[in-house]
């Protein structure tokens, strides 16, 4: 009775494996069509003199676009802006996120309500956040300037989004506001999976709260924290909407995405814009390798871990 059923299952297992590919085909084809093909075309365009306003077949010009790109100070400015934006905003988000998560991890009344409040900035569209903060940071009547003036921190209103020295930090501030609560929720979820017993043991061993945090909590949530940091960093490197809405195409804040799109669409220079876009793609690929190696995270591990 057992034997035929087992043999039947293994035949089924073979059929299942064949069926699996059929189930995958629609998704794979779609991904190749919307991601694979356009990416390949972008890389090809970056080696040509293609223009948006010219329908003639583009000519192959080798690496000429890239030669121009590495000579353009605006490109390096965009690289600097993007990298500083990513490093500063992700660091702040991680630190503040940890503080908020630790605070929300305490047992107290109204914790659910607090957690709900954390979701508000995350749910607000990026464009809307940028507009809201653009209004709050308005150089004459913005509420931030009013508050700082009233507190005596500044003597005259600051032009947060127009002053080249301040604009990038204004963009960072908006990103930190929008993303920190989200980071906090992810860290909180990791914290709530920690077993209570080890803390009791640590208390008996006389470990203070600071020692408990650095010797127990941090090492235990490190894998989850690293995954969150990596994803946020990769997300920050491709930032576009915040800069575009808050400061337009201003060179003071232009990210690599803003730079690439400006050349591609506004200047109609598809070849050069594609070279910049490919440059961004390479930077993000390099950052992924770097972060995964440094963070000693096996992304494949996510597969068994979750």
């Amino acid at each position: 009775m057992v034997a035929p059923a087992a043999r039947g299952l293994s035949a089924l297992a073979l059929e299942r494996r064949r069926a699996a590919w059929l189930f995958l085909v629609p998704m794979v084809v779609t991904v190749l069509l919307v991601a694979g093909w356009p990416l390949a075309r972008t890389i090809w365009f970056s080696l040509t003199d293609a223009r948006l306003d010219d329908t003639a077949a583009p000519a192959f010009i080798g690496l000429e676009n890239y030669a121009w790109l590495i000579q353009d100070p605006d490109w390096w400015n965009a690289v600097r802006n993007t990298v500083s934006f990513a490093i500063v905003s992700v660091s702040l988000e991680t630190l503040l996120g940890l503080v908020i998560a630790l605070a929300l991890n305490e047992r107290m009344r109204g914790r659910g309500l607090l957690r709900a409040a954390m979701l508000i900035p995350w749910a607000i569209p990026t464009v809307v956040s940028a507009q809201m903060w653009g209004w709050m940071l308005h150089d004459q009547v913005g509420v931030v300037n009013e508050a700082l003036l009233a507190l005596g921190v500044i003597a005259r209103p600051l032009a947060f989004t127009a002053d080249p020295d301040l604009a990038l930090w204004a963009v960072v501030a908006v990103d930190v506001w929008k993303t920190t609560p989200f980071m906090a929720l992810l860290i909180l979820a990791a914290l709530q999976l920690l077993p209570g017993e080890i803390y009791e043991a640590a208390e008996i061993d006389g470990l203070g709260p600071v020692g408990r945090f650095f010797r127990l909590t941090l090492p235990l949530i490190r894998p989850a924290l690293m995954v969150a940091v990596i994803f946020r960093a990769l997300d920050a490197l491709r930032v576009f909407d915040l800069m575009y809405v808050l400061t337009g195409n201003s060179a003071a804040t232009a990210s690599m995405s803003v730079y690439a799109r400006q050349h591609l669409v506004d200047f109609q220079d598809v070849g050069f814009g594609s070279a910049a876009a490919t440059g961004l793609f390479l930077v993000i690929a390099a950052a992924t390798v770097l972060l995964v190696t440094l963070g000693r995270v096996r992304l494949g591990a996510a597969e068994d871990g979750r």
């Binding site: 039947g8 299952l9 089924l12 299942r16 494996r17 069926a19 699996a20 590919w21 189930f23 995958l24 998704m27 794979v28 779609t30 991904v31 919307v34 991601a35 093909w37 356009p38 990416l39 605070a103 607090l114 709900a116 409040a117 508000i120 900035p121 995350w122 749910a123 569209p125 990026t126 464009v127 809307v128 507009q131 809201m132 209004w135 308005h138 009547v141 508050a147 506001w177 989200f182 929720l185 992810l186 995954v227 994803f231 946020r232 490197l237 576009f240 909407d241 575009y244 809405v245 690599m256 995405s257 690439a260 799109r261 591609l264 669409v265 814009g273 992924t288 996510a302 597969e303 979750r306």
Partner: protein, 280 residues
């Protein structure tokens, strides 16, 4: 003894203060947007926390002066279609990836994760060409098509984790009864995965609703704009006089339904985001 009690009281007061600061920090900007949207004329330039006489003029103006109703409809149609297509393709792929052990599964999951981290700008010129070739420029279908690049990998990834948690016995029992994989997926798993599908769909919907770069690039006329582009491009009589009251009114209109959805489903959303390995 009383010194220690005093200290614990002070610690609790500090902790309460910290919580207050956290809540004020997360909630104030949206509160301020609501307040500003209810002020008109010169009241907008005063910093009063509650408008003395709330005015709804900004809300009326948003719909009167621009096709904002149409923009909202566009966003709903685009995000809704993207979610439907992503869930259909994603559930089928997740069944294979989550339930069947085959060679190349790990590589495929890694590739899917990599696609979800693509910088959108890197596919912009290739997509633009494809969309023009398909004749979809300034057409909402171009957005449905292009948004799949981020909603589909995300959906596949999250549904795969949910699919893994389905009990093995259910599937084995059905297969001994001669059910094909297709029947197992559509008759047994999908009905059980209702909550997972709802969560994933909601997250994909929010991502599509908020998208800006493709919507800005692939549409041209005001009637074809989605909500984020419409709000970003609201302009006044001159570049120096942005109609902030209206911008805030439009912002509040599109954010409130989203907030209601998110708050209603908050538990599931956090679970779904965890499963989706932190896709923002």
């Amino acid at each position: 003894m009383s010194g220690r009690r005093l200290r614990s009281l002070a610690a609790r007061a500090l902790f309460a203060l910290l919580l207050l600061v956290i809540v004020a920090y997360t909630v104030f900007p949206f509160f301020w947007a609501i307040v500003s949207s209810l002020k008109s004329g010169s009241a907008l330039f005063s910093a009063e926390l509650f408008p003395a006489d709330p005015a709804w003029g900004n809300y009326a103006a948003v719909f009167r002066d621009r096709p904002f109703g149409r923009n909202i409809l566009n966003s709903v149609v685009v995000a809704g279609s993207v979610v439907a297509v992503s869930l259909a393709l994603g559930a089928s792929a997740a069944f294979a990836l989550g339930r069947v052990a085959f060679r190349g599964r790990g590589v495929m999951l890694a590739a899917i994760l990599a696609v979800s981290m693509f910088p959108q700008v890197a596919v912009l010129s290739g997509l633009f060409e494809l969309i023009r070739w398909l004749g979809l420029y300034n057409n909402l279908l171009s957005l449905v098509f292009s948004y799949l690049i981020f909603t589909l990998p995300f959906t596949v990834w999250v549904l795969t984790t949910f699919m893994r948690e389905m009990p093995r016995e259910l599937e084995e029992a059905a297969m001994i009864d001669g059910a094909t994989p297709w029947v197992v997926l559509t008759r047994i798993f999908l009905p059980l995965m209702g909550p997972a599908l709802a969560t994933t769909g909601l997250l994909a919907f929010i991502a599509a609703w908020n998208e800006f770069l493709f919507a800005l690039t692939f549409t041209l006329t005001d009637e074809m704009r989605t909500v984020p582009v419409a709000i970003a491009l609201i302009s006044g009589s001159s570049a120096f006089e942005l109609p902030w009251g209206r911008i805030m009114a439009a912002s509040v209109i599109v954010t409130v339904p989203l907030l209601v959805l998110v708050l209603v489903f908050q538990r599931r959303i956090v679970a779904g985001l965890m499963a989706g390995a932190v896709k923002g």
